[in-house]
């Protein structure tokens, strides 16, 4: 229930939101600016969007990034779900503490360390078995899965630990073995967590500059790498247009997710009300 807020704390909250959103808003506004100078308003125009889509380098980098992000998210969800099961459903085994440490460390580990050390691994593997010397999408994919998996594990473990264990026990009691219980009972129930874990891994992968810079080869440039090299040369309204498109996609996704969730919640409450009234 609402405990109420003082005017002061609401004001602080509002200022905080202004801080969070003002830069994003300025990006959007200037993406429609006619002038190349970001700071001077010279009238509404969509020409930067045109230039963005005409820029084949940015477009192909975006395609590379989307492919990697899609595969990263899918693989990270599979591995992260397994790790979540290990963290929440398995009795102690030798190495469980190490396992937990390996899973949580990437959440906070500075990206430069992850990027450098995994590159060194690929180079060493290249020495030994001859892969890795061809660095490219595969190496970026492996590096991204490694750090995205940790986030998926956190999301999935949190859902698994809240789930009523007796549901799984009941299924087992009724004759389903462990593997079947997982696919028929556990998986459908934690599905929303898997979806949000997938989306989280997708955006993390799409967003990563540092790790990809270390492990990418000359042939694979991701979108953040392209953006980074172009903004280093100075502010470009094309990037504003790109940013606006990304913000648009994310916001639509968020609003749809929120609408679905609140509709679900409302229906659930109505059902419960109904059940209570009819209850014997």
């Amino acid at each position: 229930m609402s405990k109420g807020n003082s005017k002061l704390s609401l004001t602080l909250l509002a200022i905080g939101f202004v801080f969070l959103y003002a830069p994003i808003l300025s990006l959007i506004i200037y993406s429609f600016n006619e002038s190349r100078l970001v700071t001077v308003w010279a009238g509404f125009s969509l020409k930067w969007y045109g230039e963005l889509f005409a820029d084949s380098q940015i477009m192909s980098a975006a395609w590379v990034s989307i492919q990697i992000a899609f595969m990263t998210a899918s693989l990270a969800v599979v591995l992260g779900t397994m790790a979540g099961l290990v963290m929440t459903r398995m009795r102690r085994f030798p190495g469980k503490t190490l396992f937990g440490g390996l899973i949580t460390a990437p959440l906070v580990m500075p990206e430069v360390i992850i990027g450098l050390s995994i590159l060194l691994l690929f180079v060493s593997l290249g020495d030994v078995i001859g892969i890795g010397s061809r660095r490219g999408m595969t190496t970026i994919l492996i590096a991204h899965v490694t750090f995205c998996m940790a986030y998926v594990t956190v999301v999935v473990s949190s859902r698994l630990s809240e789930m009523d264990r007796s549901l799984e026990e009941a299924a087992m009691d009724l004759g389903a073995n462990r593997v079947k219980v997982f696919f028929v009972i556990t998986l459908p129930i934690i599905a929303p967590a898997l979806i949000s874990g997938w989306l989280l891994a997708f955006t993390l992968s799409l967003d990563d500059l540092v790790i990809a810079s270390f492990v990418s080869g000359p042939s694979s440039t991701t979108l953040p790498m392209k953006v980074f090299s172009s903004v280093r040369l100075g502010v470009s309204p094309k990037i504003n247009a790109l940013a606006t498109l990304m913000i648009l996609v994310v916001s639509i996704g968020a609003v749809v997710a929120w609408w679905l969730m609140s509709r679900d919640e409302k229906r659930r409450q109505r059902d419960m009300q109904m059940a209570l009234q009819k209850g014997d």
């Binding site: 549901l167 026990e169 299924a171 009691d173 009724l174 004759g175 459908p188 419960m272 009819k278 209850g279």
Partner: protein
């Protein structure tokens, strides 16, 4: 050992026990369960008869739930053997045991309809679809939930959910049905109604049932026999009236209902009576049957509050009486509980049924009152 504590209840039990079958249908032999050095279940021996409703009663943490989970197969006992219908269950995973459980939270699968929930176990057995349909209809009819087959669990009230959970756990025709705190998730009003309904359904199917509860009223209403558990051990096994009227120890006497315990020594040990001298009251305590004991033995006499008569005038009997001051009166509607302080300092509880709306002989605080009880009203406890 607990097997010795089992009373020969062939004659004394309730009439419904006549239909009970094989003595050792479900057997727990020397079951012990330890977790990291903590003993949750300690050398438990139990035998449940075919068709019987058997309750494990105890406070939380007494090991009753662990015992149920050992039966279901969710826990493997550290030692001991579980047998159902002559088959050894040890090492069998839950999904291969002919045992089904109704969970405290009901554990209805939220993403499946009522129908699919009940069909779940049958599907695992690979039963043909047409047969499953027929069986599900039959089970839902049994629990009067046929009209709700297409609903999701969250669209049902608590009582309805329980019926579905029961139908689901009975659908496979288990040799043993386990109930984990069956009324735990229901509100009080619904409980007494569902208790009787549950017993009716279980008895109609003749399924053997072991339940776990911390609620003595529930155990006494539903079960044919009750095992009282404490600190991982079985303290007493018996029918509800045996447990209440013939407790075998100070612990069970105090655990079920309220009791007055008079500690003392046997003064006279005869074949057909004994008398006990207790420092709690001046008159001797007289029990109208013999016990296996000896003169000078330390015993306790347990007398239930409703067996104690309270009066203004001194009773004529020479024993089993005491005078005291009424310190507290708790009016509970159907009866009142009087707390009487004896000169020795001992506090005795006595119940009086409120037969009339205004009793002619009424007591109030600080009144002197006499307490007395009959020769057969008390139980002598040696442990």
């Amino acid at each position: 050992m607990s097997s010795e504590q089992q009373p020969s209840s062939a004659g004394s039990a309730a009439p419904r026990q006549e239909m009970l079958g094989a003595e050792n249908y479900v057997q727990l032999v020397d079951i012990r369960k330890e977790y990291d050095g903590f003993v949750a279940v300690d050398e438990v021996n139990l035998a449940i008869r075919k068709g019987e409703i058997f309750a494990l009663l105890g406070a939380s943490g007494c090991g009753k739930s662990t015992l149920l989970r050992v039966l279901a197969g969710f826990e493997q006992p550290t030692r001991g053997e579980v047998k159902v219908d002559g088959q050894r269950m040890n090492g069998q995973p839950p999904y291969r045991r002919p045992i089904n459980m109704m969970f405290q939270s009901y554990a209805l699968f939220p993403h499946m309809s009522v129908e699919q929930n009940v069909a779940f176990g049958l599907k695992q057995d690979g039963m043909p679809a047409a047969q499953i349909k027929q069986k599900v209809d039959e089970m839902l009819g049994l629990v009067q939930m046929g009209a709700y087959a297409k609903r999701r669990p969250h669209q049902l009230s608590g009582g309805q959910q329980q019926r579905v959970a029961l139908a689901r756990s009975l659908a496979k025709g288990p040799k043993l049905l386990l109930l984990d705190e069956p009324m735990g998730a229901l509100d009080k009003k619904l409980r007494s109604q569902m208790q009787l309904e549950l017993v009716n359904i279980i008895e109609r199917l003749g399924v053997t049932c072991a339940m776990v509860t911390h609620d003595q009223e529930e155990a006494m209403t539903m079960a044919h026999r009750i095992a009282i558990m404490d600190a991982g051990k079985i303290r007493q096994v018996g029918t509800p009236d045996e447990i209440y009227e013939q407790p075998n120890s100070r612990f069970t006497a105090g655990f079920i209902g309220q009791v007055n315990l008079f500690e003392g020594k046997i003064e006279d040990d005869e074949k057909d009576y004994i008398s006990i001298r207790s420092p709690d009251l001046p008159a001797p305590l007289y029990v109208g049957h013999g016990v296996t004991g000896y003169e000078g033995m330390e015993v306790a006499l347990a007398v239930r509050p409703e067996k104690i008569l309270i009066s203004k005038d001194e009773p004529e009997q020479p024993h089993n009486k005491a005078q005291g001051v009424i310190e507290e009166i708790a009016y509970l509607g159907s009866h009142s509980v009087y707390h009487v302080r004896l000169p020795s300092g001992k506090r005795v509880l006595a119940n009086m049924t409120n037969v009339r709306r205004w009793a002619s002989e009424s007591f109030t605080w600080n009144d002197q009152a006499w307490l007395s009880w009959g020769d057969q009203s008390g139980v002598v406890l040696t442990s």
